[in-house]
């Protein structure tokens, strides 16, 4: 059961990822979600929003700063500790693997926090997947461009048809046990060096 009354704070330097998590929480019915991108703003935000749960991405070098801030009891009215329950090792592991760390106010029941943690972890994982896929698509596009260029060079200098140029690149790659794009890159580089 979601507890829409809980106040949640997301600290993430990555604005896109932060908004993906924020959207997920709002869609799930959590209305009190605040986002900051710099740990330095945390004092002000905590006073304003009184969060029950705080998320921070593990890439953030200021995790130590945040934890120290939490440890200064006078800075906040309620103590905040990492994760909901020390005994829940699997949950902690899942979070760290996803690249997120969670801090929860003292005394909050595990079952109230779990859906929030699950949501943040799955959104972090989804974001990583998205980033990986984007990276892959980008490099595939780059590869295709280089292969097109290499084909063009072969067609021009050796008077080959497009299919023949491609076949030549492919057989060369296979014979040398190298990737097609690497052969194409060598050809493009060589052509650049040799000039027009």
């Amino acid at each position: 059961m979601p507890s829409p009354d809980l106040s949640i704070l997301i600290i993430d330097e990555n604005r896109i990822r932060a908004s993906i998590i924020e959207d997920g929480l709002r869609e799930a019915g959590y209305g009190r979600v605040a986002v900051i991108h710099d740990v330095n703003e945390v004092a002000r935000t905590i006073q304003a929003t009184m969060p029950d749960v705080v998320f921070i991405d593990l890439e953030n070098p200021k995790r130590d700063t945040l934890e120290h801030f939490f440890s200064l009891s006078r800075a906040i009215q309620r103590p905040i500790a990492m994760f909901v329950d020390r005994s829940d090792g699997a949950m902690i592991e899942k979070a760290v693997e996803a690249g997120v760390s969670a801090y929860v106010v003292d005394g909050l029941k595990k079952e109230r926090v779990k859906p929030i943690l699950d949501m943040a972890i799955s959104r972090f994982n989804a974001f990583s997947r998205l980033t990986r896929e984007l990276e892959q698509a980008r490099s595939e596009l780059e590869d295709r461009k280089i292969i097109e260029q290499a084909k063009g060079i072969l067609m021009k200098t050796r008077g080959l048809a497009e299919a023949e140029a491609y076949a030549l690149l492919r057989s060369t790659a296979m014979n040398q046990n190298r990737r097609l794009v690497d052969i194409a890159q060598s050809l493009v580089t060589a052509a650049d060096l040799l000039g027009p």
Binding site: L58, E59, N60, P61, K62, R63, D64, T65, E67, H68, F69, S71, A81, M82, F83, R86, G89, I92, E93, V96, S101
Partner: protein, 402 residues
């Protein structure tokens, strides 16, 4: 010997040098280890990823295994340290502006902790509100800085604010005026001097001579399950220490450490801590021969008495309560037995005792050792206090807050 995969986490600090050399100079490989190094962004990440087993071992602040074993950390996994990554390496650096005020109050600029602390106390007494940065709460840096301040008559938290920032962000924070000083390992003091006009006010080697700073930490259960890997790793660190201590190797060590994968810093700046030739500010170079000790004075030996000193400071600053059970847990984290066992095949000299008194040795001299002789450097505290682990309770009582 078959090669075993070993993943180690580290932070971009000079005293990761023995881990890095163990890999880059083939020392770990010669011990049958395929050592993989993962650079982290925070001590909190090192702590958590070591606790859940992403890292087999990690460079840790000396008090970190204690904090984990005493249940002060979120994932309360018992941790141990069978080897120390060296002595010294930290310094306290202040902004140009604060240094001017300290110099006006009589700071001589010779790195001696006593006069520098006395000058700072006069600046504070004159009503100036100061903020200093350290790298982590349960860190040698935090306890050293607090020791220096308290012994100089400045009450931490009341007279001076202490905040936590990761090492690479400290020079910028100083430059931007967010903090007035910081206690950190190299190269971040020298980078503050080189890029922000900062001044090194004093060094760990003056606050407490020949004192430990970083260790290799690991889960106690992992160490139990992998005794041969632990031994091989301790040997690799010890042998890397010998290589690193040779002045003929300082230039190469600096070149290796300066690379983007490690410190990603200027080679000449990295070399300062290795050679002990520190630019302390304004182009004044001082030679601090014991600034960083990777091998001499049994630098890699995990003294149980040192674990207890860190425990005494955790008690002093209210992080853990004093009890015989806590003291026992703390002492058990530093595994001198594993160190001795690992070095036995090398025939290397090892201290005969697990405990030593600090604060009495004024000049270098021998200590009781097995398999050879060992010379220890001076181990004085700048305020002349003596730390006797046999009188731990009295030591703790003498430091109790008024």
């Amino acid at each position: 010997m078959p090669t075993a995969h070993l993943t180690a986490g580290f932070l971009p600090l000079l005293d990761s040098v023995l881990l890095v050399l163990a890999r880059e100079k083939g020392i770990a490989e010669a011990q049958g280890l395929d050592l993989h190094l993962v650079r982290e962004t925070s001590w909190a990440n090192i702590r958590d990823r070591a606790a859940i087993g992403h890292f087999d071992i990690a460079q840790m602040l000396a008090p970190m295994p204690l904090a984990a074993s005493l249940g002060l950390t979120p994932i309360a996994t018992p941790m141990i340290a069978p080897v120390v990554l060296g002595l010294g390496n930290n310094a306290i650096t202040v902004s140009a502006d604060l240094w001017t005020a300290m110099a006006d109050q009589g700071a001589p600029g010779d790195l001696a902790a006593g006069p520098a602390g006395a000058a700072l106390a006069r600046v504070v007494a004159a009503g100036r509100k100061l903020r200093f940065g350290v790298v982590h709460q349960t860190s040698s840096h935090n306890y050293e800085l607090r020791y220096w301040l308290a012994a100089s008559g400045i009450m931490p938290d009341r007279d001076i604010e202490i905040v936590v920032l990761p090492p690479p962000l400290l020079p910028d924070a100083l430059g931007a005026g967010g903090i007035d000083g910081y206690c950190v390992g190299e190269p971040w003091n020298s980078i503050g001097v080189a890029t922000k006009g900062a001044q090194i006010a004093t060094v760990k080697a003056s606050i407490w001579q020949s004192s430990p700073d970083k260790v290799i930490g690991m889960r106690a259960t992992w160490a139990e399950e992998n005794p041969e890997l632990v031994s091989a790793m301790v040997r690799a660190i010890y042998l890397a220490g010998i290589w690193c201590a040779d002045p003929a190797n300082h230039a190469e060590a600096a070149r290796i450490m300066a690379a983007p994968a490690y410190l990603n810093a200027d080679e000449a700046i990295v070399a300062r801590a290795l050679t002990g030739m520190l630019d302390i500010g304004g182009g004044t170079v001082r030679h601090v021969p014991d600034y960083f000790i990777p091998h001499a004075s049994a630098a890699n030996f995990p003294w149980k008495s040192h674990a207890l000193w860190y425990y005494s400071q955790m008690v002093r600053w209210g992080e853990v309560s004093a009890s015989p059970a806590h003291a026992e847990i703390a002492a058990a984290c530093f595994r001198s037995d594993l160190y001795r066992m690992a070095l036995a095949p090398l025939g290397a000299a090892v201290p005969a005792s697990d405990y030593k008194t600090d604060g009495t040795r004024q000049t270098a001299g021998p200590i009781a050792a097995h398999d050879g002789s060992l010379t220890m450097g001076p181990d004085l505290f700048f305020d002349g206090r003596v730390y006797d682990p046999d009188a731990l309770d009295a030591y703790i009582a003498s430091q109790r807050q008024p």
